[in-house]
């Protein structure tokens, strides 16, 4: 047990938060893409093109945060990385496949002015965006409950185990979270016409999120009461889910009353941040619970690299992360201005 393990656990949570906030919106818009009008149906509007264009400068950089989270697991908690990635073989193949077809659909969509290609590309974008969200939700759902891990830290179950009612519920929770976030993003970034539509989408999104999240909270407390242990031991930590709850309420209020779009996006991001932080507190110090024996669970203490290694990685992260955050914020400030009709070019 060392402070470095706690620091890396916190850093992992922070990176996951940044990933979900950033990639969350660009994956989330994929859902509303289904309802957006394409030029083949209506000549004046080109909403699908606009949606793609709204995320175009950012989606690629956002996805790298996933690699950062994966890299941290691999380097700092290699047992968790090895066990989880081999245990979730099938869902992760799906994720990789989705990310590949999605990247190609975004970059190549406008390259062929062919309606059939547009159809294929659009389907790839929709599946490619929603697939990872659901798959990651299912994965988290399994990690919050427990999977069959033996004394050797190996997974002994089968991939059918992953698809249980609880994990599917968490998959839907993740989906509702990012589609709301995506609509909120479009409201802030898109042209006035599309932003008005996105306002309605955000309302639908937030209703689904409130319903699914309160449902999964109740079910989690009933079936997985261990998630409350850390909060009972240290009640001050309850402040985190409490702030998360307040942020969600404010986000809902802002969406419902069509308040300032940028502030809504900030609130939505904070809701995500505090929800994930709360979940992190709930599972600490475990990363994966074992269903076979509590002692077999993978924790930040029994699955981590040595202090020497963690220290090297920490130095690397402390040099890199401020730099990355600075230029990422700079890019968002420069490229993230609200779109106007004349901006919608031939992306």
């Amino acid at each position: 047990m060392s402070a470095l393990q706690e620091i890396w656990f916190l850093l992992l949570i922070v990176i996951v938060i940044i990933y979900v906030i950033l990639d969350g919106f660009d994956l989330g818009v994929g859902f509303w893409f289904i309802f957006a009008k394409d030029k083949h149906q209506e000549t004046t509007l080109n909403e699908r093109k606009e949606i793609i264009q709204s995320i175009a400068p950012f989606w690629d950089g956002n996805e790298v945060w996933l690699l950062a989270a994966g890299g941290i697991l691999f380097a700092a908690f290699s047992d968790v990385y090895a066990t989880v990635f081999s245990a979730f073989y099938v869902p992760l193949i799906l994720v990789a496949f989705c990310l590949i077809i999605r990247a190609v659909s975004i970059e190549f969509r406008e390259e062929f002015p062919n309606p059939i290609w547009h159809k294929i590309s659009d389907i790839a974008f929709i599946f490619g965006s929603l697939g990872p969200a659901i798959a990651f939700g299912v994965l988290i759902g399994n990690l919050v409950q427990d999977i069959a891990i033996n004394a050797d830290k190996r997974f002994t179950g089968s991939f059918i185990d992953h698809f249980n009612p609880y994990s599917i519920l968490i998959g839907l929770l993740a989906l509702s979270m990012i589609i709301t976030h995506g609509a909120v993003y479009l409201r802030a970034r898109a042209t006035d016409k599309l932003a008005a539509k996105a306002t309605q989408w955000a309302k639908m999104g937030i209703i689904s999120f409130l319903a699914i999240s309160s449902g999964s909270l109740v079910i989690s407390l009933i079936f997985h009461p261990h998630i409350i242990d850390n909060f009972l031991n240290m009640p001050i930590l309850l402040i985190i889910p409490l702030i998360g709850f307040v942020c969600i309420l404010f986000t809902s209020y802002f969406i419902w009353n069509e308040k300032d779009a940028k502030l809504t996006f900030l609130l939505s991001s904070l809701s995500i941040a505090f929800s994930i932080l709360g979940a992190g507190v709930a599972i600490y110090p475990n990363l994966v619970f074992s269903s076979l024996d509590e002692a077999y669970s993978l924790t930040i203490h029994n699955a981590s690299a040595t202090d020497a290694g963690l220290l090297v990685m920490l130095i690397v992260a402390l040099i890199a992360l401020p730099l990355i955050l600075v230029y990422t914020l700079w890019i968002y400030k420069m490229m993230g201005t609200k779109l106007k009709d004349e901006d919608i070019t031939g992306y």
């Binding site: 264009q53 994966g70 890299g71 380097a75 090895a82 990310l99 590949i100 990247a103 690299a305 490229m335």
Partner: protein, 455 residues
Amino acid sequence: MINPTSLAQIQFYITIGFHFIFPPLSIGLSWYITYLLTRYIRSKEQYYKDSAWFWIKLFATTVAIGIPTGVLMEFQFGMNWSEFSRFVGEVFATFLLLEVFFAFFLESVFLGVILSGMRTKRISDRVLWFSSIMITLGTTLSSFWILAANSWMQTPGVPGEPGSGWDIVGGKAVLTNFWDVLFTPSMVARFFHTVNACLIAGAFFIIGISCLYLLKDRHHKFAYDSIKLALIVGIILSIIQGFFGHWQSTIVATYQPAKFAAQEGLFETTAGAPLVVFAILDDSKVLFEIGIPFLLSLLTWGDPNAIVTGLDAFALEDRPSVLLTFYSFHLMVIIGMFLVGVALVGVFLLWKKSLSDPSSKLRKWFLRLGVLALPLPLISIDFGWITTESGRQPWIIQGILRTADAASAAPSEEIILSLITYIVTYIVLFIAWILVMRRIFIKGPSLYETDEVVT
């Protein structure tokens, strides 16, 4: 049914082999794009910006496939090679983390800036130029970190000994000195050899595209300017590549003698060993070979009578596949030498001013050759990679961990399922890549201001 380890190996060869087509091109092209934008910033001539935009579009098409197929790699270590991952995480993945932090972010964030900025025309020239430098830095650093990780797998040294930088504690690799692990004996040579190969791939890509334009009688100035620079850079780099290759080979001979024996097709330890230039052989014997006497000993150890270790010095279970290693190594070298020849002819025609003279008979012949040579460096790079990986077998980390002990316990069905998914996806991706590049080629450069649709 094939055993899961072999399946995982096949999957690894196919997924990386495919992925590895794209990064070399992005490295090569990013350097050239930065060069063009630097010219543009200095001269303010729109011509350079238009040229850069043409290559940026081809670059982006390449990266669009290179990045997501690379994401899969990070997943695959854990999915298929979980025992390897469990063992090496602290050492190996520290380099992956460095690659994410100091390469992927730069590449991805600034590619978004350039593409969106150019398309919406809302980006200042200086930001454009700066972004291209950041992308070039990103692509090049990316190769640095991943080659550091690979070099450690090739020449890890002896764990626990001073200078190796790592140890085995509780059945796991642990880091004791970062710099020693970063600069293992094969790292520097491998980096120069590989990055140089990537730049050569970029040069021949530019030569190939320019030759196509000249053959089709389009964009003369653009094509001529491009081919001129690419030929000069190409000839210099491909000659230097011979020296880098030799440098790396002597390191292989010193630290991985089994791989060296396999790549040279040397079954018996020999004094005054010949350099085999052609052979028909399999994993156990040579059926026919043509060699230059004493040359291997001379090249490797600087003495024509020096002893070169053959495969007989290694137990059967410690030998790599000679078939795979020998042929991929020799194909790499043959392609490399062929490319030197192509560049030499090109430079000669350039010097004789025949390239700009449509009446020259040699010109047309060379232009076709230039198009033919376009994919060759990429194929050569893949062969080089196969040489280095298959020559290390049966080890995944030379002398430390066997490949057979590194795989996950994933059932064969899951691997087969994913393998089929990838093969089908990759074929579609490859076709899409070619088609998009073809469209960009047909549109041609200097259409930046009027990005009209060409069907």
